[in-house]
Structures are given as C-alpha cells and as structure tokens.
Assembly symmetry: C2
Homo-oligomer: 366 residues x 2
C-alpha cells in the first residue's frame, strides 16, 4: 500500500481516489473545505493552504504527492515538494498556472498560440490593444477557471472596464481566434519519460464551461492527431513533467493553436473512465507512483456531458442504455459542475443517438 497525497479534494481528487484503491493506493486530500467531494473515499486533511499543522498532517507517511488544482499557492507546492516528490513539479506547475508563462513556453518551443500581450497596468493595456487587435479576451494570468477571471473586449472602453473588473490583476490580452472548433489532447508521461496519448477529442463550451466532449473527435486528420501529440510530447519533455496533463487547443484552418495547459487530470478526459482501456485517473496514479502506464486505447466511441447547476433525475438518465452517471456529491448551485454523464457506443450513429437521449434529459448543451 502506498499513500498518495493530493492538493485539492474536489471531484478530480474523488475520481483519482476511486481509481487508486484497486491498485492499493490510498489517497489523502488536502482541502480547506469542510466536506469536499473526495472526503468519502480519501483521508481528508482540512486546513488553509498556509497552515503548517495541515502541511504536517498531509505529509505524514506520504509516498508521493500530486494535485488536482493548479490554483494551489506556489509556496504550498514548494513546501510539499521540499519533503516528498510532487508530480507535477513546482517548476511545471509555475509554468502552467500562469497564462503568460504558458504562452512564452509554447513560443520557446515553436508551438503556435493566439496573438497575445502581457497587461500589467493601464498603459500596457492600451499598448496590448494595438498589438493584439480587436476583438480580444482579457484573462487573468492566474486563478481563472470555468470562464471566470476573463472577459471579452470589443473596444477600448470595454477593455478598461474588463481590466477593472478583474481587479487590475496581472493579465494577458489574447487576440480573438475564429476557430473552427475546440479540441484537446490528454497525455500522460511516466517517471521513465515514456509518453502515452489519448485520442484528440472535441469540446463544446458554453459560458466558458465545458459542456460536452466527443471522443475521439469526429473527422480528425492524421496530421492534426500527429501535431497534437507532437506538441504535447515536446511540452511534457520540456517541463520534465510526470503525470497526466491536458492541452486545450483551437483548430483553425488545419492548424492547432495552444490555448491552455492543465497540469492535472482534466474534464475533457472524464470519458476515459468507461471509454478507454485505462482511465486518465488510473494512468495519472500509475505515472506518479512509478508504475507502467496502461493502454490509452479508446473502446469504441464516447461522449461526456457535464451536469451543471442541478441534478437531473438519476433514474431517467440511468434508464438510457449505455449512460453512465458520475455525481460528485456537491450541493447544486448555478454554474457549478456537479457531475457528468458518459455514453459509449460501438459506432458514431449509435453514439449520437444515445447522446441525444441524454441531452434531452439534462436539458441540452446548446
């Protein structure tokens, strides 16, 4: 039995813990919240990120640590990494939790992104508007997720408003990309440097929140698949990364632009629980504990729909053959991810049929 610590106790930690137990890996989740989603299946250490007593409780007898949210303070990650191996490392975390660092990293490795400029003050904002053009999106460099911490900018006045709404935090102005679609690739790098890839998937967002993933993405060319794997492999290698990471991408005119790197298991990989030979959660744990990676082969065709805000009738969902329900044990609240449903089929037509039935129950995604 090994003890794996996770910074954060949300649904990602919950699903990591569920994947870990069959491998005799017991998870311990550090989370400031009182009853986080991982609590029923992991040992919960409650405490603020700066609490030294919580740090000690978290570290006691731990074999390795990982994280489920990149918003963990750098000081906490470093305090953990000083005492036990932390995967991904504080260096990889620093490079991916900051949108500006992330884009600079991409540039340094010849990986295309949307046009961008750093914004640290109002003068820089004006310069950035000229450099990047309009429309654009102003995003906080750190701590944004699920559409929070960002705003669309259509002119100089709305840019200033957005800057003030974001509290004047260090930000990045990104040129608006008229992408054909959003895709992502989830990859996992083992301790020995081997890398495995799940197939490129297609993601549909609304209000900045992922609604639906289709896996594999329909109509992906061999060139796009190869390009996605190639950029993921280069970035993982550059970061000396260990574990699962997700690369959110825009597909534009047969090219890929890197949007964002998530240094953790990712919502666009939830379909792998039923839809791949080995789930992203199990593969992340295999990687960080030094076990061989499992096959990432997809089992037919899958789709994942997030449950956002409130829980539809579980019986109605479970009456749909091939629908798999994952609830996170969270209180319903507008805009909150409280679960997801995965459907799997042996062909695309069957998938779209069952997906349609699921979306009618949960209220659609469009």
């Amino acid at each position: 039995m090994k003890r794996v610590g996770v910074l954060g106790g949300g649904q990602l930690a919950r699903m990591l813990a569920l994947a870990g137990l069959p491998l005799d890996l017991r998870l311990r989740a550090w989370d400031p919240a009182a009853d986080p989603p991982a609590a029923p299946v992991a040992e919960h250490v409650q405490g603020d990120w700066g609490d030294p007593a919580a740090l000690e409780r978290f570290l006691r007898g731990l074999d390795v640590a990982t994280l489920e949210l990149e918003g963990v303070p750098v000081a906490t990650a470093e305090a953990v990494a000083a005492r036990v191996p932390l995967c991904p490392s504080p260096r990889a975390l620093a490079a991916t939790r900051d949108r500006l660092e992330e884009k600079r990293l991409a540039l340094a490795h010849g990986i295309a992104t949307a046009p961008f400029a750093a914004v640290d003050d109002e003068a820089k904002l004006v310069a950035a508007l000229h450099e990047v053009g309009l429309p654009a999106v102003l995003k906080r460099r750190t701590e944004g997720y699920d559409g929070r911490g960002q705003a669309v900018v259509r002119d100089a006045a709305s840019a200033l408003r957005a800057w003030r709404d974001l509290g004047g935090a260090p930000s990045v102005l990104e040129g608006f990309v008229a992408f054909e679609r959003e895709v992502s690739i989830v990859a996992v790098r083992a301790l020995d440097g081997r890398v495995a890839f799940y197939p490129v998937v297609e993601n549909l967002h609304r209000d900045g929140i992922l609604r639906r993933t289709i896996a594999p993405a329909p109509g992906v060319s061999a060139e796009i698949e190869t390009a996605a794997r190639d950029l993921a492999a280069r970035l993982l290698e550059a970061l000396g990364y260990v574990g699962v990471a997700a690369f959110e991408l825009f597909e534009v005119g047969g090219r890929l632009l890197l949007n964002e790197i998530a240094p953790r298991v990712h919502n666009s990989g939830h379909w792998t629980i039923e839809g791949a030979s080995t789930s992203q959660f199990e593969n992340h744990l295999r990687a960080v504990t030094g076990l061989p990676l499992g096959s990432t082969e997809p089992l037919g065709f899958s789709a994942m729909c997030n449950l956002i805000g409130d829980v539809p009738d579980p019986a109605a969902l479970l009456a749909i053959p091939g629908a798999h329900l994952h609830l996170y044990g969270k209180e319903p609240r507008a805009g909150r991810k409280i679960g997801h449903v995965t459907v799997r089929a042996t062909d695309r037509d069957g998938l779209l049929d069952v997906l349609g039935r699921v979306e009618r129950v949960i209220g659609g995604t469009a």
Copy 2:
C-alpha cells in the same frame, strides 16, 4: 445521496462502495473486523453480529441494506430487515445460505441438481451413502465457502471421518458429478421484477477456490444459455429476490445442474467491472435502490484471475496491455483471495494471449 448498508466489509463491499460513490450512494459496512477491505471507501461499523449498539449505528439514517456474505447470522439479518428494507430478503437469504434448502428449492421448481441426501447424524450418513452412491462430497449445510466446510468421500470410513471433521454439523451428501465444466450465470432482478443476465461464464476451481473465469464461456450453445437464464429467472422470481445473485452450475452432457446459489455479487462476476457495460456491483446497487438496471452487455472477451495467497509484482502485471489490477488491501495469507486481475480483448485469440501473460506472472492456475 442515499445511504446503503452492507452486512460484511470484505472485498465485495469494497467493490460495491467503489461502484456506489459515482451514483452518490454512500456505503456503510458492518464488519466485526478492525480494518476490513471496505473501510477506506465506506463508513465502517465495527461490532459483533449480535451487538445491539452496532446494529443501531448501522441502521442510523440508512435507506436500504444489503449484504456481501451469506454467512451473516439469520437473527442479524432479521433485526436489520425489521427496520429497513434488506435486499435480498431474510427469506431469500434463508433459502440460499443452506445447501439443503437450496436443493429443495431447485427440486420444487424442476431444476436439476446432483443427487443429494440430508445428513443429520451418523445413521442418516449411512443411509445417504446408499442413496447417493460413491464417490460423493459431504458439505456442511451452512457456512462453507472457498472449499471450506466440505470433504470428498470415497468409502464409508472416509465418510465417517469427514462427518467428524465437519464437527457433526447438519450436512448434505452430494453425489459426485463427472461434469464437463463448471459455469455460472450472474443475474440481477430489479425492484419492479425485471431481470437482466450477464452471459454464462466458465469457471476453473482449484482446491475449492475459484482461480479463473472466462467471459463469455467459450462454446456455449444457445440451449445452455437459455437454460441458464431460465433457471435463474425462475429462482429469482420464486424468492422475490432483489439484487444480484450468482448461480453456480455444472455442465454435463448438454444439461445444467444447479450446484449453488450465491445471494450476492459473486467472484465469477468480477470481470464485469471492465468487461461489461455495467458492472455487477453497480447493477446490484441500482437494483436495491430502485434505479433502472444498466446494460449487462459484454465488451468483447474477458478473463478474470484471482490472486490467491500473495501479491505478485504489480508493475509486472500492469506492464501487460489490457491487464487491470484489483487489490483488496488484505494481508497476504495462504489460500486467501487478496485480489484479482481482469484482462479484456476484442477477440478470443487476443484474450488467450494476454491471459497467458498474466498467468505466467501470477504463477499459473493449473
């Protein structure tokens, strides 16, 4: 969120709890042991089966109860069932935990078994030997599992020895059946009476312990598949059964003989975690909580090997593509089931290939 109580906290309760959490079902396991396998993933109520305080702790706020071992004292099951729905019911439990009742039930429903006779004392033993013939197997009516509580009888002297070794407990003498193979069918009956079946699987035992299951069983005729479903459906209906049950069968000359009914999720159904659209664990919980049953369709071809006695090198097992490891968190001990490995493939040849690799790591099954 619903709370589901489980009598017993072994590996079956552990796998039930892992299957329940995504449906927002929280399990509570009553087990006299200090740190049973289910403890990391379920609320553990420790106490002897007759302990009234443990009963109260177990029942508090419970929506429904079920069990993972049929050896629970009848009085405990009845005390639980008096306060909360228990699935299966004490009646179904009483009929299946006693080998003699089980065989009488089969006879009453026109289902063939091996020849048998009740043995309550030495005089009855002598009569039974004449009635059933030799060789035969003397089995305790209750509390036998994994080959314990039974002995092969070759002559009158060994019969008397067996009777004394079993402590003179009420027993059944069963005629030895020269079966071609052992198969089983796992079925699940919903609250509304609907029944779903996993395919008939082939089981290989050694020293009375299940070593390997192949799913679906190779070369099963449509008649055998139908006969298995038919006997399972009739028995579940007769018992007013709710939940998963397994029917262990002998295949002899194109016929099936009922060997044993397990009123719970079953070792020969463990392959369903990866190998079927919905696992036996999830379907059991769906049934007892009144949710619709999930598809029992197999995903290609699967095999399950038990890990008995000690843990092989997990890295060696996990390096085999398509091998899935399930450890139960139990201390290694000779003859003890401490985990299992499931392999899945898209065709039979692929399955046998990967199964061979697994069996070389775990030391074979023959």
